[in-house]
Symmetry: C2
DNA sequence: TTGAAAGCGCTACCAA
DNA sequence: TTGGTAGCGCTTTCAA
């Protein structure tokens, strides 16, 4: 509970100099630095957040968020957007402003362009739902090296110099889905999987976790086949699901590893077969389908957190520094059934 | 984003007076008050949290938490305690200190005594995992009317003048448990329920939600019978569960509505029958039993939140005031299976 | 009833 | 390289 002032009194060094030592701003002689550090140690100094929060107003921090457009592509990002806006309001009181730029989930160039825009216009940090592309990785590296921290959200690009990742542990989500499918089918089923483009959603990871867990724990659940949707399109999803079900009349369970639940579920209800459906995420269409008992259970991934947390991380990085920031902020695998949506 | 200073400049009234108006401290003439309120409206003034947080240090706030002892009675409260300690550390930076007093889950007098202790020793707010007793309700009313806000946690006493409640919506938890039991048993089972003392855990609410949902949605699940444990004792729980299972050999599903999973599950494994077990909470014994696939699924209630949130509410009440504080802060019904614990 | 000023802890700036 | 000072927004105290 020591303060900078107390350290100043103890060491007979001015508060400004103490500040320079604490925040490694340089321009301090080795002797005074050592003296100050000793006092910091002795008094067990910890920076006071309230003080910092007040002083940071003068910096007029600005953060940019590059987000897959929820309206044009994937409604999942609606809740991410909610999280962004809520946190942005919260940060207003600290003089922080937040701007969002929306991009396509497939076109890396719009994301790169937005990165440049934020980086070249004085923004102090960037969050991005990053497309899995080499160009993005390079751009993140460049921006980071210019001293602008970047946080990935929802989709990670590990080897890019980004400060942190917030989002799902996709492999685990797949395992949880398999776990539930096993419980619901009493460990006996013929299962099909509907997957999607691997550009954004790390769907391969989910499918992998799903298959691994089934293989290990449920010998009587057989993996019949998978269908892949490479477009962001409910109709395409309907068609590939229908084709899979037609081709495999024995399928009695379905794992929807990607977005596009409406199309897939329409094919399920059209088939008039009794199929246990396990999905991911919890957009409004999913909620409705759970109420209708078409989808039995879904694995959600806390989208509002994925919007809010990156901004919190960037704010912390700008105030208390990057020392205490971890690399991974995984969201829980949140199980939803019709009674807890 | 207006500040008190800006309002002062606009109205030619001093900052102290503005403060008196904003916080209703009185001693302001009607004319100036009106003038100030108009300016507040016009500039859309919102108090700045960072400023308040800094100034509040001088108050040296102290909060008391009255907690059912996790070590002597129910390990569930271990995680509540964790939440308390984490938030207490966080609040240290604002000059706040937090003290915990532990009580029995059955003896109301120790809780009343602790309430008096906190109230008579200058504490600025009290959180309590309240026993359902008339004496407690009266004491909460008394303390509240003395201007010390009280927040109930885990167990509510609505008609007591308490400021807010944080914790489970027990009825909903019961519904979720029934929902899952229905899914896992494919809507066909003979179910028994193990309940416990209704003093603390609102177990009646859970059982009610459970039965209501089964009745409404699963006509082929029959409710065979219930056993009640009135002691906080694993052995008692073992004995009553064993008795229930012996009495009803047809039981193939069990809902553990109360604490005491070890005893109940021992009776289940001893029986060598295949029984689908749905539990509540996620203490370490529960986790282990899920790994062993004795318990299929459990409904958790975010105990750390139940420790942290009451302190946050008391802090907000002491800084920004009680105007924006809601009455109910329900925790989600968190579904846990072996892959997401 | 009102105003002026100090102070909460930290940071930034200018002067030395 | 260091010190002094003003200021972030709010509260409190003392004086008028």
């Amino acid at each position: 509970m020591a303060t900078i002032k107390q350290i100043a009194d103890l060491t007979n060094v001015s508060r400004g100099t103490i500040d320079r030592v604490i925040n490694n701003r340089g321009r301090v002689s080795p002797e005074t630095e050592e003296k100050v550090r000793a006092a910091i140690e002795a008094l067990n100094y910890l920076p006071n957040k309230a003080g910092k929060n007040l002083a940071v107003r003068k910096k007029n921090l600005r953060f940019g968020f590059i987000l897959i457009s929820p309206n044009n592509y994937n409604p999942f990002f609606l809740d991410v957007e909610k999280g962004i806006k809520k946190k942005a309001k919260e940060l207003e009181t600290f003089g922080v402003s937040v701007d969002i730029r929306y991009t396509s989930p497939t076109d890396a160039s719009t994301q790169i362009e937005s990165m440049d825009y934020f980086a070249n216009n004085g923004y102090n940090g960037i969050a991005i739902t990053a497309i899995n592309s080499h160009g993005i990785a390079e751009k993140i590296r460049e921006v980071s090296s210019r001293g602008i921290p970047v946080v990935t959200s929802n989709t990670d690009i590990p080897a890019s110099g980004r400060l942190a990742y917030t989002g799902s542990n996709y492999y685990q989500c797949g395992k949880v889905a398999a776990n539930l499918l096993g419980l619901i089918t009493n460990g006996c089923a013929k299962v099909g999987v509907i997957t999607g483009s691997e550009n954004v959603m790390c769907i391969t990871e989910r499918s992998l976790g799903f298959r691994d867990y089934l293989q290990k724990h449920y010998p009587n659940i057989s993996y019949v086949g998978a269908a892949t949707n490479n477009r962001y399109d409910e109709i395409e999803n309907y068609l590939i699901t229908k084709a899979l079900l037609d081709e495999h009349p024995e399928i009695d369970a379905l794992y929807l590893a990607a977005a596009g639940v409406s199309g897939a579920c329409r094919a399920v209800t059209d088939s008039r077969r009794r199929i246990t459906v396990v999905a991911n995420d919890c957009v409004s269409a999913t909620k409705e389908l759970m109420r209708q008992e078409v989808i039995a259970v879904t694995i959600d991934q806390n989208p509002t957190y994925q919007g809010a947390k990156p901004l919190e991380i960037l704010f912390d990085a700008a105030t208390v520094g990057t020392a205490f920031i971890e690399e991974y902020y995984y969201t829980d695998a949140i199980i939803k059934v019709r009674t807890n949506i």
